[in-house]
C-alpha cells in the first residue's frame, strides 16, 4: 500500500473514499512511549495544517496536523485502551484518523516514501 508523508511527519494512505492518517515511524520513535492519544470527534471539519489530534508520550504532548482539509470519517478507538499501538505499529494498527478529503487530488502533492526518507536525512 502506498504511503505518502507530510513535513510534519504524518503519513496518509488511501482507503476507498477516505484517507487513513497517522504519525510516521520516525515521529513515533522521536515521541517515545505514547501514553495517551486525543482524537477528534467524528464529523468534525479539519483544515489542512491545523491541529487534528494530540499524541502524548511520557516526555511531552505533540500536536498532529491534518494533512488535508476535510471531515473526520472515523477515528482509531483502540488507542483509548492501547495508546502504545502508536509505537508498536505507527504506520499500521497505530493509525489515528480517517478523513474524507475535500480535494483528493492533494494526495499527489505529498512526499512519497523515497522523498520522505531524503527529507529525514536533511533534518
Amino acid at each position: 500500500m502506498t504511503l505518502r508523508y507530510t513535513k510534519e511527519h504524518e503519513w496518509v494512505r488511501i482507503e476507498g473514499a477516505v484517507w487513513v492518517c497517522g504519525v510516521s515511524a520516525y515521529a513515533a520513535e522521536q515521541l517515545g512511549d505514547v501514553v495517551y492519544v486525543e482524537l477528534p470527534a467524528r464529523g468534525r471539519s479539519v483544515k489542512a495544517g491545523a491541529e487534528m489530534a494530540v499524541v502524548e508520550s511520557a516526555k511531552a504532548a505533540s500536536d498532529v496536523y491534518a494533512p488535508v482539509s476535510g471531515t473526520v470519517a472515523d477515528v482509531n478507538d483502540a488507542l483509548g485502551e492501547a495508546p502504545q499501538l502508536v509505537n508498536e505499529g505507527p504506520e499500521g494498527q497505530g493509525w489515528l484518523v480517517k478523513l474524507t478529503p475535500a480535494d483528493p487530488g492533494e494526495f499527489d502533492a505529498l512526499m512519497d516514501a523515497a522523498a520522505y526518507q531524503a527529507f529525514l536525512k536533511d533534518l
Binding site: 517515545g32 512511549d33 501514553v35 495517551y36 486525543e38 502524548e56 511520557a58 516526555k59 483509548g80
Partner: protein, 354 residues
C-alpha cells in the same frame, strides 16, 4: 544526561524493581567550610549558623554525616532554591558541610552562601566533579562491591572515602522515592565507575525522562516548576523542614510570612492531583472547581508505576483537602480529577533504626 536510553517507561519500571544509574553531574555540589581550625561541636555550630541565616531548617543539630533537605529563602519567605546539606561524617572535620544545590540555581546559591558567611567560611564549588545517582531497591547490593562502608549508610547519611582509588563523597538519598545513593567523584573515576556499575546485571542507565516521572510519583518538588521565589515552604507543604527551634526564634528570611502561614494556614497549597480519565494534565493547566479557577498544575505527566496520569499543583486552601473534586482544563476541555495525598507511590527509603 540524555532524556532517555531505552525508553522512559522501561527505565522508570527498572528503577522501581532493580537499580538505575543517572548521571546528574549538572547538579550543584559544593563544600562549605569554616575558615580556620575544623573539628568539634563548636566548629559545626559556627558553620551551621552561617547557613541557617538563609535556610529555616536545623543545620546546627545535624550529627556527623547526617544530611537534611532544606531551602534557601528570600526576604518574602519565597524559595530561592531547594538543596541538601550534610555535616562532614568525620567529627574532626566538623565545620565542613557538603551542600548539593540545583543546576539552575547553583551560581546564585553559591554567591548567597558565600556572602552570608561574611568571610568566616569559604565555599568551594564541586564543578570539577561528577555526581552519579544509583537508585532502586538493588542499589545497595550494586554499590557494595565498590564502597562497602557507604552501602551500610542509613537514609540521609553521608560518607567520605575512596572509590576505585579516588576520593568520593556518597550520600544515601535520591530523587526517585526509592532507596539509593548519590556519589560525588572525579570525572576519570566516575567514567570507570559508571561502566563498572553497568556491568552489574541489576543496573541499567536511566535518563532525565525517568528521573522526572519517578520524582513526580514520589511527590518531590522540581525547582522552577513546583517551587519558585513566590512560593513559601508552607505553601509547598514542606512545614516539616522548619523545626520548633527555628519557629520559636523566627530567625530566617521571610519569617513573618512563614510563621503566619504556619499559624493560620497558607492561602494556597501544593497538592497531588489524580485525573479520573487518561489524559495527562501537564504544567500550566488551569485547575477549576465549580466553574471557578482555584489553581494551576505545576508538574504533570504519566505515572508509569501506577499506569495513570498524575499531576501536582497549587490550589486555594479551601480546595486542598484530599478527596476534593476538581476539573483540569486540558486543551480547554474540563477533565475530572481528585485531590490526593502525596506521594502517589510510597517511599521506600532505608531508614536507620532510631
Amino acid at each position: 544526561m540524555p532524556v532517555q536510553y531505552e525508553g522512559v517507561l522501561a527505565e522508570h519500571a527498572w528503577t522501581r524493581a532493580h537499580a538505575s544509574l543517572f548521571d546528574v553531574s549538572h547538579m550543584g555540589p559544593c563544600f562549605f567550610a569554616l575558615n580556620g581550625a575544623l573539628g568539634g561541636e563548636d566548629a559545626h555550630r559556627a558553620a551551621a549558623a552561617l547557613v541557617e541565616r538563609l535556610a529555616p531548617s536545623d543545620i546546627a543539630g545535624l550529627r556527623p554525616g547526617q544530611m537534611r533537605y532544606t531551602v534557601l529563602l528570600n526576604e518574602d519567605g519565597g524559595v530561592i532554591d531547594d538543596l541538601m546539606v550534610a555535616r562532614h561524617p568525620d567529627f574532626d572535620q566538623s565545620g565542613a558541610l557538603y551542600i548539593v544545590a540545583n543546576a539552575g540555581g547553583k551560581a546564585g546559591d553559591f554567591a548567597r552562601l558565600a556572602a552570608a558567611a561574611e568571610g568566616r567560611a569559604s565555599l568551594r564549588p564541586g564543578d570539577d566533579l561528577c555526581l552519579l545517582a544509583l537508585q532502586g531497591p538493588e542499589a545497595e547490593a550494586a554499590l557494595l562491591a565498590f564502597a562497602p562502608a557507604a552501602a551500610s549508610l542509613g537514609f540521609m547519611e553521608a560518607w567520605t572515602g575512596q572509590i576505585l582509588g579516588a576520593p568520593a563523597t556518597v550520600a544515601r538519598c535520591g530523587y526517585t522515592g526509592e532507596d539509593g545513593f548519590e556519589i560525588l567523584i572525579d570525572p576519570a573515576a566516575a567514567a570507570i565507575l559508571f561502566e563498572r556499575l553497568l556491568e552489574d546485571a541489576r543496573v541499567k542507565p536511566a535518563g532525565l525522562g525517568a528521573r522526572d516521572s519517578l520524582r513526580l510519583e514520589a511527590g518531590l518538588c522540581l525547582y522552577g516548576h513546583d517551587l519558585d521565589e513566590t512560593i513559601s515552604p508552607v505553601e509547598a507543604d514542606l512545614p516539616w523542614i522548619i523545626p520548633k527551634r527555628r519557629r520559636l526564634a523566627g530567625d530566617f528570611p521571610g519569617a513573618a510570612r512563614i510563621l503566619r502561614e504556619l499559624r493560620e494556614g497558607p492561602a494556597r497549597k501544593r497538592v497531588g492531583l489524580a485525573p479520573l480519565g487518561k489524559a495527562p494534565a501537564r504544567e500550566g493547566v488551569e485547575i477549576v472547581r465549580e466553574g471557578r479557577t482555584v489553581g494551576r498544575v505545576t508538574s504533570g505527566g504519566f505515572g508509569a508505576s501506577i499506569a495513570a496520569p498524575i499531576s501536582m499543583g497549587y490550589v486555594e486552601a479551601a480546595s486542598s483537602a484530599p478527596g476534593t473534586s476538581l476539573d483540569l482544563l486540558v486543551r480547554g476541555q474540563p477533565r475530572a480529577a481528585s485531590v490526593v495525598a502525596l506521594p502517589f507511590v510510597p517511599h521506600r527509603y532505608k531508614r536507620s533504626p532510631p
